[in-house]
């Protein structure tokens, strides 16, 4: 029973972590839709959501309500069990995969308990992550099949074929990093990227010795975009051809689950890209000498954002906006003050940089969607099999050669 | 601590169920799946033995088995697709042009 007790104490810490993460994640998911619509709108010289709340900030809430209260239609002839299973599977797998992502250093201490800043820190975290994401195909495939509709079926087939194809590249592209780090543990991979070249260039895997994983990153990101069925690889939902793809027949909250799954996996993939190629939670600046001021970058960013929000908020169109936006700005400023307090910056460094990098990736995602035209299906497959996969293999070969040579 | 024999009994049961499925199912794909089930049972046995013997070999074997299963799956499914294309059915009892 001793063991159980030992595990029990850990559960006390793990459970709050799960709750917090879920809350943050779900909120983030909701606001990602807002973010995407906003960014795409601006790219296309539109305003995007504007009515519900200031700058449409309450739009996600409204959408959520709409999904919840819509009639839930199940198509005739659908395979009920599978039809229900598919969205559930998609979402739960997508969310689960976040569990192994470390947001900060391994030995993060809260309330006297040392705990990794992740739900769990596994030795084979990366593998588990791939394991979970690889199961994601089922959601799509089953959804397409169970709807008893040709559009869905074709969409499902397409997307699962696409996911299988690109999963290979995705996995292969990471091997270079694994070889360089010598571990599957995500925290350790990040740890291995510590240090700087010439005093200021971070030793991130992207540019790290012995063989910079630039190709690896490019492949990874391309494959990841395809894997998440995002533009320009979003053939699944090519409306012109397949209406809504595999989720044509889904409505209401089940539809929302697919949506959330997609955004959730976007986040996961961004996290992964950050961890594997961009040093994870590590700051891009050295912490010594003339670079010590970078400790306060989080605080400064929050302060600037808060002030800007206050200035913008007081001149906002609606009264609600004039109240809400400055309040938000004040909160940001308060956070900025908090982050500047002695001792705190060290805690904040990790999560801040990590989230910042993720945000950049997500922006790139949206940016891609806003600018790039969709691939043709056969081109997509050809591209995956004939360009990306060989390249990724080449990358592995060269990296391993480089490592062997560097050892000698 | 779980006794090794628990795992092995489970493995035997799964293997047996695989055999049963192989015998009773009529859809070619399902029959093929029952073979996969049997291979999985074997893997479980390997891991359990490897654990009990304090060796790693068993796990290496599992790795090989999985690779073999993957190769088999690729070829097997290709054969099944060809069959379906030529015969329009996946029922083993209807695929019988070789019976006399």
């Amino acid at each position: 029973m001793n063991e159980f007790a030992a595990q029990h104490s850990i559960l006390i810490v793990v459970l709050p972590k799960v709750v917090v993460l879920l809350f943050v994640l779900l909120t983030a998911l909701a606001y990602l839709t807002w973010f995407e619509r906003k960014v795409v709108a601006h790219i296309q010289s539109r305003w995007g959501p504007y009515r519900v709340g200031p700058h449409g900030l309450l739009q996600p809430l409204a959408d959520g309500l709409k999904f919840l209260f819509k009639e839930d239609v199940t198509p005739a002839g659908a395979d009920k069990f599978t039809y229900f299973l598919a969205p559930f599977l998609s979402l739960s797998l997508a969310i689960t995969s976040i569990a192994v992502i470390p947001f900060g250093p391994k030995d993060f201490t809260v309330f006297g308990q040392s705990t990794p800043l992740a739900i769990t820190n596994l030795n084979i975290g990366l593998l588990i992550l791939f394991a979970i994401t690889s199961m994601g195909v089922y959601g799509v495939a089953l959804a397409g099949w169970s709807s008893n509709s040709k559009y869905s079926l074709l969409g499902g087939l397409r997307s699962s074929a696409q996911m299988i194809s690109y999963e290979l590249t995705l996995t292969m592209s990471v091997v270079g990093v694994i070889l360089m780090a010598g571990t599957f543990n995500l925290s350790d991979i990040v740890q291995a990227q510590q240090g700087f070249y010439l005093g200021f260039l971070p030793r991130w895997n992207l540019i790290g010795a012995p063989f910079p994983q630039v190709i690896g990153f490019f492949l990874f990101f391309t494959a990841a975009v395809a894997e998440t069925n995002r533009a320009p690889f979003d053939l699944v939902e090519a409306e012109q051809e397949l209406v809504g793809g595999f989720h044509t027949e889904y409505a209401s909250f089940k539809f929302a689950m697919f949506f959330m799954a997609e955004y959730s996996s976007m986040i996961t993939v961004s996290c992964l890209a950050t961890i594997l190629f961009f040093g994870g939670w590590l700051s891009p600046f050295p912490q010594t000498g003339i670079w010590t001021w970078t400790h306060y970058i989080p605080s400064a960013v929050f302060a600037i954002a808060g002030v800007a929000l206050i200035i913008h908020g007081v001149r906002y169109l609606t009264i609600l906006g004039r109240v809400v936006l400055p309040v938000l700005g004040l909160v940001l400023c308060a956070l900025a003050v908090l982050f500047a307090m002695p001792g705190v910056p060290d805690f904040v460094q990790g999560p801040f940089w990590f989230l910042l990098k993720i945000a950049i990736f997500i922006f790139v995602y949206v940016w891609l969607r806003g600018t790039l035209p969709r691939f043709r299906y056969d081109r997509l497959m050809t591209f995956g099999w004939k360009v990306l996969l060989p390249l990724s293999i080449l990358n592995v070969v060269i990296t391993s050669l480089a490592i062997v040579l560097a050892q000698k | 601590m779980v006794p090794t024999s628990y795992y092995l009994v489970l493995s035997a049961v799964l293997f047996g169920l695989g055999v049963v499925a192989f015998v009773f199912k009529r859809n070619i794909i399902t029959i093929f799946m029952s073979i996969e089930l049997m291979l999985n049972a074997v893997n479980l046995a390997f891991v359990a033995f490897s654990r009990a013997l304090g060796q790693l070999q068993g796990q290496v074997f599992v790795f090989f088995v999985i690779v073999v299963a993957a190769a088999e799956a690729a070829v097997g499914l290709a054969i099944i697709i060809v069959i379906a294309r030529n015969r329009g059915t996946l029922d083993v009892e209807r695929v019988d042009s070789l019976k006399h």
């Binding site: - | 009773f24 999985n40 654990r51």
Partner: protein, 166 residues
């Protein structure tokens, strides 16, 4: 009952239920899903035995690749439900129980034969050791598997290719 045994029992029940369901289900997709359940349960059991790497590979290759292919093919071929197996009454009432008895007996014998074996400890195996074994001692079969995969690729290509494409 230690927690491990509890976890084992849950996972084992899951696996057996999945396997039985594989037999009972008439639609191949449902059978495939049952099989995936078995595989996931087995992955859990591997984790329970400290075989982390194998657990991950189990999910990635079996769950994420092989079974996806199955599901994919089932969808592609639009396979319908299988007809009821026309087992004679005799077979159903005598054959099936006999089969079950036989199965249990085999399981019993294997259980008995291995009951003296050391209990498995849940200490994790390092992937590094595993890979050392794989690439040193078992490098020959490892290389052979690459040929195996080559054969499989070639085969899938030969078989699935349509005549007009060449």
């Amino acid at each position: 009952m230690t927690p491990q045994i509890a976890v084992f029992l849950v996972l084992a029940a899951m696996a057996v239920a999945g396997a039985v369901n594989l037999i009972l289900q008439r639609h191949p997709i449902h059978s495939a899903l049952s099989l995936i359940v078995v595989m996931v349960a087995l992955a859990g059991l591997y984790l329970l035995q400290g075989a982390e790497f194998i657990a991950a590979v189990q999910i990635i290759v079996y769950g994420g690749a092989i079974m996806v292919l199955f599901v994919f093919v089932i969808m592609l071929l639009n396979a319908g439900e299988e007809e009821r197996t026309n087992l004679s009454r005799m077979a159903r009432y005598v054959g099936v129980p006999l089969g079950v008895v036989f199965l249990l007996e085999v399981a019993y014998w294997i259980g008995r034969a291995t009951s003296h074996m050391a209990q498995s400890s849940p200490q994790a195996v390092s992937t590094r050791e595993l890979s050392t074994l794989l690439f040193r001692e078992y490098v020959f079969p490892f290389e052979l598997t690459s040929f195996l995969i080559l054969i499989a690729i070639l085969g899938a290509l030969v078989l699935a290719r349509r005549e007009d494409s060449d």
